[in-house]
């Protein structure tokens, strides 16, 4: 069941071990006893979701501005050097910083060579409202690249944040559908940037146009229409 909430609306979220996700706020109350039953309100408009046992609640909206959160993978563009690392534009309010050593096998002597304008697939390692977000291009425990690093060739396109979440959902139809037509590579950033690459330029263009057409903030096309759309394209 889907229910739409608007900012300021009360949400019937109650649980002994309540966890609130983005877009929800528990109003503070004066006494400890009341704290548990204090009302929860939505602060963003969107669709209200909760986990099966009703302990986790969140609001799924569709914005375009990215707010970094730890452990999310993002795609960014290098805008400049700063000291030992780089400054990366990930579409958030502040530029993120990427340490020169946060790569697989990077040492003080041997750092990857990245130019201004290079494209990166990275993970947000630190996101705090009072600090610049920080990125890393490896798994901090294993020191393996884990698929992160510089993205070469291909094309990057901007979509809404919801679209990038949809693309990350393995059950979503679009990428498998495209994959059944031709070989493709894709990297989806939670910041609404999608990198796609395929052997042929026209295939890459087709992918980009399909993603734009399916984007709920744009065309909002469904599966049957996309199939029709694809058959019209010269691929």
């Amino acid at each position: 069941m889907e229910s739409i909430v608007l900012p300021g609306e009360q949400v019937p979220a109650q649980h002994v071990n309540l966890k609130l996700g983005p877009g929800l706020l528990q109003l503070s109350s004066e006494t400890q006893q009341q704290a548990k039953s204090a009302p929860v309100i939505a602060t963003r408009s969107g669709v209200l979701n909760h986990s099966v046992n009703k302990s986790k609640w969140w609001v799924e909206g569709n914005s375009r501005r990215y707010v970094p959160a730890p452990q999310e993978s993002v795609i960014g563009v290098i805008t400049g050097r700063s000291g030992e690392g780089w400054r990366v534009d990930i579409g958030s309010a502040h530029p993120a910083s990427l340490d020169g050593l946060a790569f697989e096998g990077a040492t003080k002597r041997n750092k990857p060579s990245l130019k201004v304008g290079s494209l990166l697939y990275a993970r947000v390692s630190l996101a705090h409202k009072d600090m610049e977000p920080e990125l890393e291009c490896f798994d901090a425990q294993t020191h393996k690249a884990d698929g992160f690093g510089e993205l070469k060739d291909g094309f990057v396109l901007q979509c809404s944040l919801q679209m990038s979440r949809l693309l990350l959902d393995p059950k979503h139809f679009l990428l498998p559908l495209l994959g059944s037509r031709f070989a493709l590579e894709a990297a989806v950033g939670m910041n609404g940037k999608v990198w796609v690459s395929s052997k042929e330029t026209k295939h890459t263009i087709a992918i980009a146009r399909c993603i734009e057409a399916v984007d709920p903030d744009g065309g909002g096309m469904d599966e049957t229409h996309v199939k029709k759309f694809l058959s019209k394209l010269d691929i």
Binding site: V77, T79, D89, K115, G117, S118, L119, L151, K152, D153, G154, F155, V156, W195, T201, K202, T204, I205, A208, R209, L233
Partner: protein
């Protein structure tokens, strides 16, 4: 802040695609984005959209004293501004280079091309003339705001109707006209329409602006109506304003890649074909809108 330049892969991909004559939005190299027009309840209010680029143009008329050196001519003023609303790349305050280009181009295409007959705006020589004020507001910039603004501007001029006036001696009375979307009323039975209907402006010709973008690679052919990414990565723009009678009104190519004279002439030819199409589309759309409206005289 200067907009961040596109990343290296984007640049490379776009140039590669253009080399194969492919564009990212699936258009042909010489395809315009189809413009759509939305007319407001008032006459002379039009919103023009080309893809995601959107511009509003609004025209109104006011009676003023003419300039002493031109007592028989009406006055046309054009106001345009690119606010940060169109795209975060623009800053408020000092006019940016794009804004200067836009303002000057609108002025040249709409005013200095003598598209609108200024003498017909005169009511009483030396005392009363119409001042037409056009405001062009860029709502969203997804590339090529220049063509979109010029198009919105000229359509606003064509859509506008100025009120009828009666001159008795030195007295000027305006026949008040309220233009509203009304169901077809029986008003025409009471007044003869030729006497009282608001008058469209005297327009000599309709110039349309078409912009081409050149790319650094010499073998890549120029594209028409560049998108935002194409515009950013282009190595020079050529804007040609023409009318359907194959007259060039404005040609603007400043710098950019040097072009052989034959290429310039080829572009003019292409523009003349595109402009003819645009002209038909605009006329059809204006007619459609006009038929849905009725005039009421109060």
């Amino acid at each position: 802040m200067r907009p961040p330049s596109p990343s290296i892969p984007e640049k490379k991909f776009l140039y590669d695609a253009l080399k194969q004559s492919l564009r990212l939005d699936g258009r042909d190299m010489l395809d315009l984005r189809t413009p759509t027009f939305t007319f407001g309840p008032e006459l002379g209010w039009v919103e023009c959209a080309m893809g995601k680029t959107r511009v509003i143009a609004q025209l109104d008329a006011k009676m003023v004293k003419p300039l002493p050196e031109r007592p028989f001519e009406g006055i046309i003023t054009i106001h345009s501004e690119i606010s940060p609303m169109a795209s975060p790349d623009y800053e408020p305050g000092r006019p940016s280079e794009e804004e200067v280009t836009l303002t000057r181009m609108l002025d040249k295409v709409l005013r200095r091309s003598d598209a609108i007959d200024k003498e017909s705006l005169c009511i009483l020589a030396g005392q009363r003339v119409w001042q037409l004020r056009l405001t062009v507001h860029v709502l969203a910039d997804a590339g090529n705001i220049l063509d979109c603004s010029c198009l919105a501007g000229i359509v606003a001029f064509k859509h506008f109707r100025k009120p009828d006036v009666e001159v008795i001696g030195d007295e000027v009375t305006v026949v008040r006209i309220e233009m509203i979307l009304l169901p077809k009323l029986t008003f025409f039975e009471q007044h003869s329409p030729s006497e009282r209907a608001p008058i469209s402006l005297a327009i000599h010709h309709t110039p349309f602006c078409v912009t081409f973008a050149f790319f650094p690679d010499v073998l890549t052919r120029p594209v028409v109506d560049p998108s935002l990414l194409e515009q950013r990565l282009s190595a020079g723009l050529v804007s040609i304003a023409m009318n359907a009678q194959r007259e060039i009104c404005v040609l603007h190519k400043a710098g950019g890649v040097p072009t052989a004279p034959e290429e310039v002439l080829r572009l003019i030819n292409i523009a003349s074909i595109l402009v003819k199409d645009l002209d038909k589309r605009v006329e059809a759309r204006l007619l459609e809108d006009w038929e849905g409206r009725k005039v009421e005289v109060r």
